[in-house]
Symmetry: C2
Subunit: 340 residues, 2 copies
Amino acid sequence: MQGTMLYGPRDVRFEERPDPAIIEPTDAIIRLSATCVCGSDLWPYRGVDPVTQPIPMGHEYVGIVEEVGSAVRNIKPGQFVVGSFFASDNTCEICRAGYQSSCIHRQPGAPTGAQAEYARIPLADGTLVATPGLPPTDLIPSLLAASDVLGTGWFGAVAAEAGPGKTVAVVGDGAVGLLAVLAAKQLGAERIIAMSRHESRQRLAWEFGATDIVTERGDEGAAKIKELTGGLGAHSVVEAVGTQESMMQAIRSTRPGGHVGFVGVLHDVEIPGEEFFFSHVHLHGGPAPVRRFLPELIDLIWSRKINPGKVFDLTMPLEQVAEGYRAMDERRAIKALLRP
Amino acid sequence: MQGTMLYGPRDVRFEERPDPAIIEPTDAIIRLSATCVCGSDLWPYRGVDPVTQPIPMGHEYVGIVEEVGSAVRNIKPGQFVVGSFFASDNTCEICRAGYQSSCIHRQPGAPTGAQAEYARIPLADGTLVATPGLPPTDLIPSLLAASDVLGTGWFGAVAAEAGPGKTVAVVGDGAVGLLAVLAAKQLGAERIIAMSRHESRQRLAWEFGATDIVTERGDEGAAKIKELTGGLGAHSVVEAVGTQESMMQAIRSTRPGGHVGFVGVLHDVEIPGEEFFFSHVHLHGGPAPVRRFLPELIDLIWSRKINPGKVFDLTMPLEQVAEGYRAMDERRAIKALLRP
């Protein structure tokens, strides 16, 4: 098959790769219907995360099951499935508590890489969720979004305890931040402040349910949020970037007793203890347990109540994957969808 | 009157001070029935927090109201009252959300110092809670504990979401840690692991409801907690020390999806972002909103359901306050009660 490898900073190659095969009896092989480039793929692409050997890329996927291992009970060939970036058994105590991305048997969700024609998915019964049937083509982008960016934005909003009567602020206007706006809206938030200075992203934020836009960043951004909330700060803040500045912006935008949900992978971030102590903020986040939310998200998409697929503002054939990375790196695209 | 001043590291003086007087119409003056030395008083005593000028000491108190300002409506002369280390209006949006120690009108709870014969209490109606009547003498230590260490341990346990079915670990065997054990027990925790290597403190932990004692510290302590919890970690961990080591011990003792409640004042602590991201732990704490819990705690003490006053293992006349500091500094006493 053809698949995507990262050889080093900005060196993405779409090339011949071995066909994935069942290794463990709990595996499944899927044929990708759509995949995409993730904001977190840009960390190694930009050389921030070191690349010591060529790595297969991609961990967001939807597709049709081709084959399952002998121990797979619920997932069947021919089903259309959605998975996520960690494989989980969905039966251990941690999974049952809703933290499938810390499953005691956690593995990479698509170890052979999902920016490819086929992928091997470990722990298929725990990891994959089948849709009610083969989806109409126009739903595929939204189902693909559920695989990562929607699930992640949703977890950010849940971790920030977005809900009725709450003012929610979102730091970060990438796909995850924008979908945290959508999630906050679905969860019933009263007021949703998107922090963005890019017009196309602002437009999508309004469409997803933002009630206010703040263009300031860092401490100026936090001051603006306080100004908009009677000096107190937002009840709930989603951090969807992962830098020191964005994390401090999130903490400083939150009122005492409020909640920060953080889903940007933290890079070189240190949270200063004394300031955090006196902030009285709740802090929770990490790699989103997308699996927890998939059944509900698929349902909302299937019934056309939400349209998270709108974050894909660029669609291209899978073989042009390198251009997808470039477009996202240069912020010409919010998110690039790739069709095998 | 006579009161306690800290002139510099280990320089505690009990000396003549001006009688406190009503300054704001919302003030009250109380005559202290009992006061004590706080673990946090040891930070400036040891020179960790700099002392640039002599400071009046003490912020834990119970006593009888002598006089109230013209705007005080609910608190009346002659009442026995319990307050805490921050004064709060108890009416602002932050107070109503239960975070009185971040009240928008927050002030020091006893600006004239509570290790004294009399103290001025700001925002008396919001800050003070009257007991149902004059308490019997044997309840005074417990009511004094409610003023700070019990309220703080209780908040730690609440912030850690201690409750039925939960395994709770407590890092720190000072008065706050020991009372977090008591709180976890009252909140219905199934298993309570006290982390302590001091026999007298272990005894009190057993008495307050501990089901296990772990003597290891740091990463060894965290490994022991994992061993006791099927490799997963505790559901709830209370951090009641405030150092880098104790905070990391708490985070590393908690299972993914679990909760750390931290109430030790953080000194030179930095929480490493990447490790915290992948820990999936909830983190919440800060200066305890003792006022939130006071009515319930007074009720539990009044009806003799709890006896938190046991943490006072040393009682002395107020004029011997300097010896109280020494005894706590040298860990000869868990907590020293001072009688004016």
